[in-house]
Amino acid sequence: MNTTWSRFNIASLVLGFAFLYLPIVLLVIYSFNESRLVTVWAGFSTKWYVSLFHNQAFIDAAWVTIRVGLISATFATILGTLGALAMTRYTRFRGRMLFSAMIYAPLVMPEVITGLSLLLLFVAIGLDRGILTVTLAHITFSMCFVAVVVQSRLVTFDRSLEEAAMDLGATPVTTFFKVTLPVILPAVVSGWMLAFTLSLDDLVISSFTSGPGATTLPMRIYSQVRLGVTPEINAACTILIAIVAVGVIIASIANKRREVNRARDEQAAARN
């Protein structure tokens, strides 16, 4: 492998990372700003974090967001997994191509359209907009993502595992819970995490489908920004970034460790 770094490589790396992370770094730095003015540095302070935790509107919005995220991610995972199972298992029905295309369509559908159509639906059936409608909307759009993630795992799933379980006397239901689900669990968990993050940072669909008392954190931040950016928002965003970063780091460390252990076990097994 070539380990020498040319000047060109270094330059492109720095430029690339600067492009990606400079705005975020600025945001984090100014969240510790003493001054009320976002663009003028006046010394280090954590006072905006303190004031954030005293801002009831923010706390409420965070609470709504977490509740919507947990519930919608869970339901989206159940529905998405079932959908993925159906799509990979029943490969010989008429119009399967259309069906699988329809699973992918919401991924590329403009959010405005999804939001608007959901709003029209809720109005048509007379459902009052609130936390329920936001949750339903989030389930709708995130289950497609779960389906795609789980489906990609199921494609490589060895069906003979299920046959072996049934052959050993397990009913189809037992087979699913004792064999299929544990084996595809990593994909289901990452599907859930994807659904949760999608729900966490959704603004457009939430705005269309939420009502009074169901303001999510992104909606709160967005409406606050329209009245002027305060360092409080910077602080809120920094906390969000920290949560996401910690999650990503833990997930990748766990993943890496699992891979290393597995490689070591396999080598040991090959030796004896």
């Binding site: 060895d158 046959e163 052959d167 050993l168 006397g169 037992t174 097994a269």
Partner: protein, 381 residues
Amino acid sequence: MKSLGSFRRKFAPWNDPEAKPFIAVENVTKRFGDFTAVDDLSLNIYNREFFALLGASGCGKSTLLRMLAGFETPTSGRILIDGQDMSGIPPYKRPVNMMFQSYALFPHMTVEGNIAFGLKQDGMPKNEIEARVAEMLKLVKLEQFAKRKPHQLSGGQRQRVALARCVAKRPKVLLLDEPLGALDKKLREETQFELMDLQMKLGLTFVVVTHDQEEAMTMSDRIAVMDKGKVKQVATPAEVYEAPNSKFVADFIGNVNMFEGTAAAVEKGKIDIDVATDKMTIRTEATRDCSVGQTVGFAIRPEKIRISRKEPANSSVNTAYGELYDIAYFGDMTVFHVRLENGRIIKAASLNAVRTVEDPLGYEDMVWVNFDTDAGILLTA
């Protein structure tokens, strides 16, 4: 182990008209769309038999096995196991267990967990499960690996876990799909005998699918040679090899020299076949009915052909003369390819019984090949 041998020697229920088959496959057909995987197939397998389904890939042997296990439903016909009609009975209610080609070990369970899985489904009490698992681990010599996960085992160990898992439930029938396919040659040969002894000890009926004819010949009591969804011949390994019933079987099992000619004379239980293309007359025993003028086939195994530089005594029949074209030395035996005048190759094998041979045959030597009248097989199908 002496008792096993004497049991094997006497074991031939298929010759007993009174014996009831343990597995009866009756006119079973299986179609996938336009493709007929199994075509109007009937087969009887007896209790405690080691039965092999042998054939090239795509001959329908695996489909038949999967129908026995209940993973596929016959398009028509029926399957009886121990007198019970299996139609409509799901895999989890059948008295059979299957060992998969990929082993299909549950990756998230330990060796113990894998073996106990089937027992738990039966609702066996916990202490009995533990005892049975311990017994199975001992049977396959994996006691010290009980807590390992499948990926922490070698290929041979995984194969034994798979075996232990499917015999743990004491099924009436064990179905094995290419059980030794993933093992290397040496391990495969050892495991063949282990499987045979296990089958005897447990008194089970084994149905094994394989494409490896040596494996089928070594292990099984009887072999069903399959082609295009049909059974071509069901017989003991020796019968399949020495008395194939068709050109297909003769050609499929082992090495063979095939001739085709016209029956020239039939008398006193012998038949003369005029092989015009090779300018040869073959005299063989008339084991099948045929009339003068009929086109017949003749198959002879390489090891039944003698090869020498000297012209044999009666060179008017069963003899050919040609150039030694290729020599394949295997250590235990040597296969000579003799090219006749018309370019046809005849294979003759000889056992290397002595370490050194004076004046060995070499490339381009002119040699005679010759065989006895009872050495080959007359084929009319």
